[in-house]
């Protein structure tokens, strides 16, 4: 057994009981307040979370630039990842892969995504999240952002998005980002641990995912292009400029706020932790396409699977790993974020994450030997 996940189905919060629905509703409300602040049409005329952040800032005697709901959000997010990371270490700490990965993703969040942006502001600079890259953080390729950042940050951003990430995804799989660095994946893999089994494994979900995630990638590319074209020629074409701003706004609202934030986290207790990563994230889509042609794969040990379903159950991306294990088929799926949980929970040690050239051929049943022993 994997002692950490025993009783998963006995915990109401992990089992879509009423408390899970309540938590989901709470997350929806929190994210809507965060992104959309005052909602006069609903009778809420002030920015509740901003007021809360200011009150907390005064109470704690923090400097004024920290009296922001976004700082508060970052702090809560980071604390949730630290607490969730502790839970993951308690459950799966007997695996060195899970230990190293969890400590890395939590450290990246604390240092690069929380502390460093604050340090930048202490020195009077514009905040910047060093663990986020285009196209996930689409505005980091917008001319307006590029122009206001120093050269080194722009270099970091372009090096990551255009050079390092494609190479890393080719050699290591998209996991290097999606489950080792990214804050969205980091939240899923820490505080989201009690919900990872809730992802749908149906083939219908797989079909929807392929269409939706590549659509978002396409929209992200088009949006980036439109913003750039507007930067080049917008002054001469005011109609186009208005259109470009609308597209940019719409992307920020529909994809950035609604999909990644409200739905992505709000649905944790009901549909599992990777709704955004699986159905929407343009970065996951792009790295997934590279992964598909790269070296990363999950190697299947032949004729040892007992079809128990632990691998599929605990796949947060909804990959039906068991079908590959039963068919003796080593595989690479574009959506796999390489969290390693399928291999970890397999009671027969059938699965192994690898980036090396193939050593033992798979896909065939084991050879029947007749040797005198």
């Amino acid at each position: 057994m994997q002692s950490g996940i025993m009783n998963t189905y006995q915990h109401p919060i992990s089992n879509r009981a009423w408390i899970a629905w309540a938590l989901s509703a709470l997350l929806f409300v929190a994210y809507i307040l965060l992104y959309f602040g005052p909602l006069p049409s609903l009778g809420l005329r002030f920015d509740l979370l901003q007021r809360l952040a200011e009150a907390m800032g005064h109470a704690l005697g923090l400097p004024a630039f920290l009296h922001s709901k976004w700082i508060l959000y970052g702090a809560v997010y980071t604390l949730a990842m630290i607490a969730g990371g502790a839970l993951v270490l308690r459950r799966h700490g007997n695996s060195r892969y899970q230990r190293v990965r969890t400590l890395t993703v939590v450290s990246v969040q604390v240092l690069l995504a929380f502390m460093l942006p604050i340090v930048l502001q202490v020195f009077g600079r514009k905040e910047y999240y060093f663990s986020y890259f285009w196209p996930l953080k689409i505005e980091y390729f917008y001319p307006s952002v590029i122009l206001e950042q120093p050269f080194l940050i722009i270099f970091w951003s372009f090096l990551g998005s255009l050079v390092a990430f494609p190479l890393l995804a080719y050699f290591l799989g998209k996991r290097f980002y999606c489950s080792w660095i990214c804050g969205c994946g980091g939240l899923a893999n820490t505080i989201g641990e009690p919900f990872r089994h809730l992802s749908s494994k149906s083939s219908r979900a797989w079909s929807i995912e392929k269409v939706s995630i590549h659509t978002v990638l396409f929209v992200a590319l088009v949006t980036t292009a439109i913003v750039w074209i507007n930067w080049a020629v917008g002054k001469q074409h005011p109609d186009f400029a208005r259109f470009a701003f609308r597209v940019q706004d719409w992307y920020g609202f529909a994809i950035g706020a609604m999909f990644a934030g409200v739905l992505g986290v709000g649905l944790y207790p009901l549909m599992g932790t990777r709704v955004w990563c699986r159905f929407g994230c343009p970065m996951a889509a792009l790295l997934g396409l590279i992964q598909k042609f790269g070296r990363f794969r999950i190697t299947v040990k032949k004729d040892m699977c007992i079809s128990c379903g632990n691998c599929s159950t605990y796949c947060e991306m909804g990959i039906d790993v068991r079908q590959y294990a039963m068919a003796n088929e080593s595989f690479t799926r574009a959506s796999c974020v390489g969290c390693g949980m399928c291999a970890h929970v397999c009671p027969r040690g059938v699965l192994k994450l690898e980036n090396k050239p193939v050593r033992w051929k798979a896909g065939q049943p084991i050879r029947v030997y007749a040797v005198d022993l």
Partner: protein, 431 residues
Amino acid sequence: MHYVILGNGIAGIEAALGLRARDADARISVVSAEHEHLFSRPALMYVFAGQTSLRDTEPHDRELYERMRFERRSGRVASVDVAGHALVFDEGSRLAYDKLLLAVGSKGRGAPWPGAAGEGLHYFVTLRELEALDRAAKNGMRAAVVGGGLIGVEVAEVLHDRGLHVTFVIREGWYFPAALDASESALVAEHMRGHGVLVRTGATVERVLRGDDGRIRALRLSGGDELAADLVVSSIGVEPNTAFLAGGEVALAESGAIETDDALRTSASDVWAAGDCANVTWVDGSRRPEQLWYTARDQGRVAARSMLGDDASYRRGTWYNSAKFFDLEWTTAGHVPATVGPDGTPVAPLPGYRSWFQRVPGRFESQRIVVKGNRVVGFNMLGSRWNHEPFLEWIHERRPLEWVLQHLGKAQFDEEFSPRFRVYERHGAVS
């Protein structure tokens, strides 16, 4: 053509799928009293543990039976009318067949101790038994798990996790002597005790003691000791689920297993058998059932081809298996002779055999390689993951021990960043 498959397990469904793949028009009926869908029997333990749901253990989507036009018939079969080509159900109705596959699996071997029958005595093989134990096992109870095999250790683990005080009662001098030697077993026992389970070896159950209200209160062990218990799980092995065939025309071995030929045909015409209930010939020439998931699957496939009229034969390869004792994974391949017989007495080492063994310092991990003459014939690996396929290749290629030790790292299958295999004791460990 009407094919009837008795048993909705992996052997039965693999056979049904094989039949449907080649015969689109045949009528195929699947008869079972247990569950509407195929589920993974070895995974029942994870359902009991709350680690998966029963639905999670079903390997196929739920539309499979409709898509494949498998007619399901729920019911308990009382006998097979071989001459009349029909199954006879316990309520008297009949189901006629043209060709029949018996894939009825195993059941827990009945507890032989006086006082055993009745409330509080549990088995763990079928879905009904899981449900009964699930209802009975309550936090704070004292549980005795009897029988030192693979089911026992998992039941003990889950009961312990549920907050029961578990004692693992093992007849032999150490845990799982069919596969582990004394030092390996000591490692597993130490690991189990570290998790809080009491392990009593060399203890035979003589009687189940019940109070005036009929509830279990203790086990009397050999030597007169009493082990207080509210609940007993008997996991002393499985036997073919063939009582309904006794005295009929389908020939059974003494063990109750259905005798089959190489094509998995039984002694009765138009009747085949596959899976846990079928007696097959092993590499060493002995005739026993193979109680494994993947051999049941293979047998189901061979049975289907045989029923379709192919010249199919079932051939068993070199033995391999894996399991998990709490957190300790175990992989075995080839010939690893038992050092204790089924009755608990030590077996003299086979002439010409020796073992290379090391326990990895500071970890619950060991490797044992069995050598015959100068060729490696078996592997027994505890506490880390190994790919059995290179093991089988090396055995087949008759590699010497030194060569295998040099190349062993290539067969390591642990998660990334796990400690790499190395030889801690190159000399002096061979016995």
